[in-house]
C-alpha cells in the first residue's frame, strides 16, 4: 500500500499534510535546481533533504514553491560557504581542490561544449551564478528573482548583464 494512493488520514482544519505533497511533487525539480547551485548531486540531495527536514511545523500558508525554492537557495549558499571555509583550511596544509567533479558518465552525457559553459558558470561569483540559474534554468522573472535573492529588480538586471558579459569573454564567443 503506498502513500500515493491511500486515502489520506483526516487532519484538523487548516492542517493539511501539505509538506509531504510538496516533497513528493517537487523534490526532483528542487534537486535539479540545487545541483546547478552546488555542482554535485550528493550535496544537492542533502540540501533538499535538509530544507524539508526544517520545514516541518511551518504554517501551511507559507509552504509554497517559491518559499521552498528560496530555502533551497539559502541552503545551497551554506554548503558553498562551508566548502569555502574547508578549502581555506586545506590551503594552509597544501593545495587541495575539493570542488565536486562530475562522474565519467555525467561528463560523457554533458559533452565538452556544455562542460565548458558549466565550468565558466562555476567560476562566476555566487550571486551572478544564482541569478543566471534562476533566470535561465528556472525561468523566473526579474521580480521573482529579486524577491528570492532580496535585491532590487534593477540589480537583478545588471547582475545578469555583467554575468553574461563575463561568460561571453571567458568562452570567447564560441558557439
Amino acid at each position: 500500500m503506498d502513500s500515493e494512493t491511500l486515502p489520506r488520514v483526516s487532519v484538523p482544519p487548516g492542517a493539511e499534510p501539505t509538506l509531504a505533497g510538496l516533497y513528493r511533487e517537487h523534490r526532483l525539480a528542487l534537486v535539479r535546481l540545487a545541483v546547478l547551485l552546488v555542482g554535485d548531486r550528493e550535496s544537492a540531495e542533502d540540501v533538499v533533504q535538509d530544507v524539508f527536514a526544517r520545514l516541518h511545523g511551518r504554517p501551511p500558508d507559507v509552504l509554497t514553491l517559491p518559499y521552498i525554492r528560496t530555502c533551497v537557495l539559502n541552503a545551497a549558499r551554506s554548503v558553498l560557504r562551508r566548502r569555502g571555509v574547508m578549502a581555506r583550511g586545506s590551503l594552509k596544509l597544501g593545495p587541495a581542490d575539493d570542488r565536486p567533479v562530475d562522474s565519467a558518465e555525467t561528463a560523457t552525457l554533458l559533452g565538452e561544449s556544455r562542460q565548458e559553459v558549466l565550468a565558466a558558470l562555476g567560476r562566476l561569483p555566487r550571486r551572478q551564478r544564482e541569478v543566471l540559474v534562476l533566470r535561465y534554468y528556472v525561468d523566473l522573472s526579474d521580480a521573482d528573482i529579486a524577491q528570492m535573492t532580496r535585491v532590487r529588480q534593477s540589480t537583478v538586471r545588471s547582475t545578469v548583464a555583467r554575468a553574461l558579459a563575463r561568460l561571453e569573454r571567458e568562452l570567447g564567443g564560441r558557439t
Partner: protein, 394 residues
C-alpha cells in the same frame, strides 16, 4: 536571445537532467528536533501550528484470531467532556524512546515485534544504513543487520514468523528481502518485474509475512506468495484484481481512484485468500459509500459501522477517514479554549486518548509531524520519540 544565453540554457538543462527520475517515491525527511531559539521570536504575526501527518502504508497486519473485547468503560464523549491523555487510557501502549541510535544515526521505528521490542531503520543523513531494534526494558538498541541500499524504498519494515522483511526496487525489478529478527545477513528471497503505476512511477508493494511465507500485492493487484526460504513467486488462486488488506484478507476495489462510480466503496468485496470465503460490505440505511473499509469496520465522515452495516456509531470528534490495526482512527475535537485535541479512538471499545493539542498562537511549539503506520503511531518530541503501539492494545 543571444547565443551565449542559448548555450547557457542548454548546458544548465543538460546538467539538471543528469539527476534522473528513478521513479521511486521518497519519504518526507524526518523533522529536525525543535529548538526554542529557532522559533521566530521577532515575527509579530500569529503562527498557526500545523499538524503534519505522514501515512506509511505498505506494511499490512496479520489478523489475529481473537477480537478485542469491549470490556472496558467507554471514554465519556459528550460535548463538554474533556478527553483523557493517551498515556492514561492505554498506559502499556505508549512509550518514549531515544531518537538517536548508536553512532548518531536516527532510529525510525516501523513495527513492534512483541510488546517490548520495536524494530526500525537506522538512518544517517536520512539514508538507510541498517536495521535496528530497541528493547524497551533494557533501554538499548541492537543492530539486526547493516543495510546500505539506496534501492530500498521508504515503506516500513514488516515482521512475522521471526523474520523482518522489506522490498527494494532495482533495475526495474522488485526484490523481497528478509533477515532473522535475532540478527543475521539479509537474504533476497524473491525478485520479479516491478509494476509501474499510471504515472509511470513505481508504487511499491503491499507486503506481509504470514504462514511461513512472504505475501504481497503489487500495484495492479493479485496476491502473491513465496516461502521465507526463497523460491518462485506464485499468484494465489483467484486473487487476480484483489489487493492484500490484512492477511488472509484481500479486497477490491483497492482505493477510491479505482472506483468508476462517483460513490466510493473501496474494499467492498473481500476474500479470504486461503479459503475463498467472500464477505461483501453493506452500508447502513441511508449511507451509500465509505472512505475506508477493513475486515470488521467501515468508516466514513465521522461515522463507523460494521462491515455488515450494523453497529452504526458516531465518532467523538471530526475526521476519521482511515482505520489502523482494524479498529483505531485519528480524530480531532474542539476544546472550549479554542484549541483542538488530536486523539486516537478505538472503535471496538469506544475509548479515546488524546495524543496532543493543536494550538494556534505566537511562538507556540507546533505539534510534531505524526507518523501513522498500521500498528504504530509515532512522533518526535525533542531528543525523544513517542510511540503508540496500536498492535499491543488488547
Amino acid at each position: 536571445m543571444s547565443s551565449i544565453e542559448d548555450r547557457l540554457k542548454d548546458a544548465m538543462a543538460a546538467k539538471a537532467e543528469t539527476v534522473r527520475d528513478d521513479g521511486r517515491p521518497r519519504a518526507l525527511p524526518a523533522p529536525q528536533p525543535w529548538h526554542p531559539l529557532r522559533s521566530r521570536w521577532g515575527v509579530p504575526a500569529l503562527v498557526a501550528a500545523a499538524i503534519v501527518t505522514v501515512v506509511a502504508g505498505t506494511a499490512v497486519g496479520v489478523r489475529g484470531a481473537s477480537s478485542p473485547a469491549p470490556a472496558v468503560r467507554p471514554t465519556p464523549s459528550g460535548p463538554g467532556a474533556d478527553l483523557p491523555p493517551i498515556e492514561d487510557v492505554w498506559p502499556d501502549a505508549v512509550h518514549e524512546i531515544p531518537v538517536k541510535a548508536p553512532g548518531g544515526r536516527t532510529f525510525t521505528p516501523d513495527v513492534f515485534v512483541n510488546d517490548r521490542v520495536v524494530v526500525g531503520r537506522g538512518l544517517t543523513r536520512n539514508r538507510l544504513d541498517g536495521i535496528w531494534s530497541y528493547d524497551l526494558d533494557k533501554r538499548t538498541f541492537a543492530r539486526i543487520a547493516p543495510l546500505k541500499d539506496w534501492s530500498v524504498g521508504n515503506d516500513p519494515l514488516v515482521f512475522g514468523d521471526g523474520a523482518v522483511a522489506w522490498s527494494a526496487f532495482r533495475d526495474g525489478m522488485t526484490e523481497i528481502w528478509t533477515v532473522p529478527v535475532m540478527g543475521g545477513i539479509p537474504r533476497r528471497i524473491a525478485s520479479f518485474r516491478g509494476v509501474l503505476g499510471p504515472q509511470n512511477t513505481y508504487e511499491g508493494i503491499t507486503l506481509a509475512i504470514a504462514d511461513g511465507m512472504a505475501v504481497w500485492s503489487p500495484a495492479n493487484g493479485g496476491v502473491y506468495r513465496v516461502p521465507l526460504k526463497g523460491g518462485r513467486p506464485t499468484l494465489i488462486k483467484e486473487t487476480k484484481g484483489y489487493r492484500l488488506l490484512t492477511w488472509p484478507w484481500a479486497g477490491r476495489p483497492y482505493s477510491v481512484s479505482d472506483a468508476k462510480e462517483r460513490v466510493h466503496r473501496p474494499m467492498e468485496q473481500l476474500i479470504d485468500v486461503r479459503t475463498g470465503e467472500r464477505v461483501d460490505a453493506v452500508p447502513p440505511p441511508g449511507r451509500v459509500g465509505w472512505s475506508y473499509c477493513g475486515v470488521r469496520w467501515c468508516i466514513n465522515e465521522g461515522e463507523v459501522w460494521r462491515r455488515d452495516g450494523t453497529g452504526l456509531q458516531r465518532l467523538p470528534g471530526n475526521g476519521g477517514t482511515r482505520l489502523y490495526s482494524e479498529r483505531f482512527t485519528l480524530i480531532s475535537r474542539h476544546r472550549p479554549d479554542g484549541t483542538s485535541a488530536i486523539a486516537v479512538h478505538d472503535i471496538s471499545t469506544r475509548r479515546t486518548g488524546v495524543l496532543g493539542i493543536h494550538t494556534i498562537g505566537m511562538n507556540v511549539e507546533p505539534f510534531p509531524t505524526l507518523h501513522l503506520e498500521d500498528g504504530l503511531f509515532w512522533y518526535r518530541r525533542g531528543s525523544k520519540q513517542v510511540l503508540v503501539n496500536l498492535s499491543g492494545i488488547r
